[in-house]
Symmetry: C2
Subunit: 322 residues, 2 copies
Amino acid sequence: MKMEKEKFVAGIDIGGTNTVCGLVSHSGVIAGRSDFKTSSLPRFSDFTDRMAAEIKKMASDAGVSLSGAGIGAPNANYYTGDINNAANLVWKGVLHLKSDMEQALGVPVTVTNDANAAAVGEMIFGSARGLKHFIMLTLGTGVGSGIVADGKVIYGHTGLAGELGHLTMIRDGRTCGCGRKGCLESYASATGIVRTAEEMLKEKERKSSLRELKEEELSARMIAMHAEKGDKLSLEVFDFTAQMLAWAITNAVLFTSPEAIVLAGGLSKAGELITVPLKKYIDEMVMHAFRGSFKIITTSLPESDAAILGAAALAIKKGVEA
Amino acid sequence: MKMEKEKFVAGIDIGGTNTVCGLVSHSGVIAGRSDFKTSSLPRFSDFTDRMAAEIKKMASDAGVSLSGAGIGAPNANYYTGDINNAANLVWKGVLHLKSDMEQALGVPVTVTNDANAAAVGEMIFGSARGLKHFIMLTLGTGVGSGIVADGKVIYGHTGLAGELGHLTMIRDGRTCGCGRKGCLESYASATGIVRTAEEMLKEKERKSSLRELKEEELSARMIAMHAEKGDKLSLEVFDFTAQMLAWAITNAVLFTSPEAIVLAGGLSKAGELITVPLKKYIDEMVMHAFRGSFKIITTSLPESDAAILGAAALAIKKGVEA
């Protein structure tokens, strides 16, 4: 009798700064990883060659063969497999990420944006295991989202569905990097938190220990530290952030009626600073019929592994469905 | 060789005022219909008996047998088949609509709320034929919605997904029948339009031909008539309504990236009064990545048939999927 070898896939996360490649077993063990600066290879074909070389070396070192690869990347389109004009990447125009990598690796490649990959990662390996309906919110420098209904990511007609970071919350609100105004991302992200603190600090008469910091030291993490020490203004910054997030979540629930909202990203690590006011405001704002129908949970994946596992999960899920 | 007879289903729409029953072929021909006052039967079991009797008589008159029935009803839950505390119905508490009707009719019965039924109606018989991703908005006394992704209605974890009428647009906005504030429904419905006109008419110095009307004559239809005759204030009412609707639609597009928004209900009959400003504001507000990715269309089903066809389509679709 021949023992069937455990299957391995590649999980790749292409970020504006770093690209991380990993070799991942179907049970979620990361058997190898490497990373390099995304902008270090100005020709896209050199970049895809580099990713393929990293993956092949890892597979060869581990003595395993690949069954597929998943890639999370900004603006990556699940249907076309292309990246189309991603603001944070050095290569412009249309990049044939999926087809180029399939040629280089010789296995099926699945691509989507990082937040959708994170949602699949939570579904296969993380705190959304067993859930059929949930919404993933990644609260980092920006706000990303992935929507899962009936166990499947909603990609929509364009392949770009699930962009809750750009919900217009306030029509004449803060300017957003997308060129529009009042987007959720401009309030409920790490940069949004800093903007909220800056606005509150403009009220000269308000006391705050944040005033002891130099302007460039003001960060979401620093505001969280001051809030934890009891600084009222810092606590109010988190309270306001939670309100904006609760508003978006109670609206989102009306769309797909999820059983959970899964939070990840830097802001989710603020713990009770954000979750306590968030739950209070959700209770206040949610439509009666949906009260108590969903829970707020945070990712169970270590931050250092989440991106690789999410991308790998994409390939594993695709392999199972195909 | 035996000719296969065309299959028939029942389509039933339970409204706050009237209940309409129809006998519908799989090709969408309505072979019989009847209606009665919903509140005329204060015992729910008498009500379900009446519906079953109407349907059986129609089938018998037409000499056909039923393969199933679909019912659109306020608060009806697709999963449980129950109606739970519908504000507009005379019977309170939990009503076992699906199981009671299955017993009475002897065929599989599918239930959901009226807006979801309308969405399935458009998908099978109306202007959403061939579309896999669309959002149905019924703009009547209230605002209902049904969300279709990958050819399936999203029911969510609770069975109650798709309640866009209760999106909180403005946090301290108009009070809504749901007990909350600033809901889309309080702006973009027939009653919302009247409220907008009333607010604008409070500015005493503003001229408007609407001032010639008695208070009780002010209706969405009347405002549309005055707008068509060039009354500036009435035109502004539609412009404001279109803005609110465009805001909700451009947010909705970020969730499921549909290829179309299908409008139905009284307000959709205002034609260009609503669609021209609506498209203008959508162009202004939509996130760049989704620009031009979806169209705004109106229902192609006659108003008198839409509810019956929607409910019948529910049974036909269920029959095909099962």
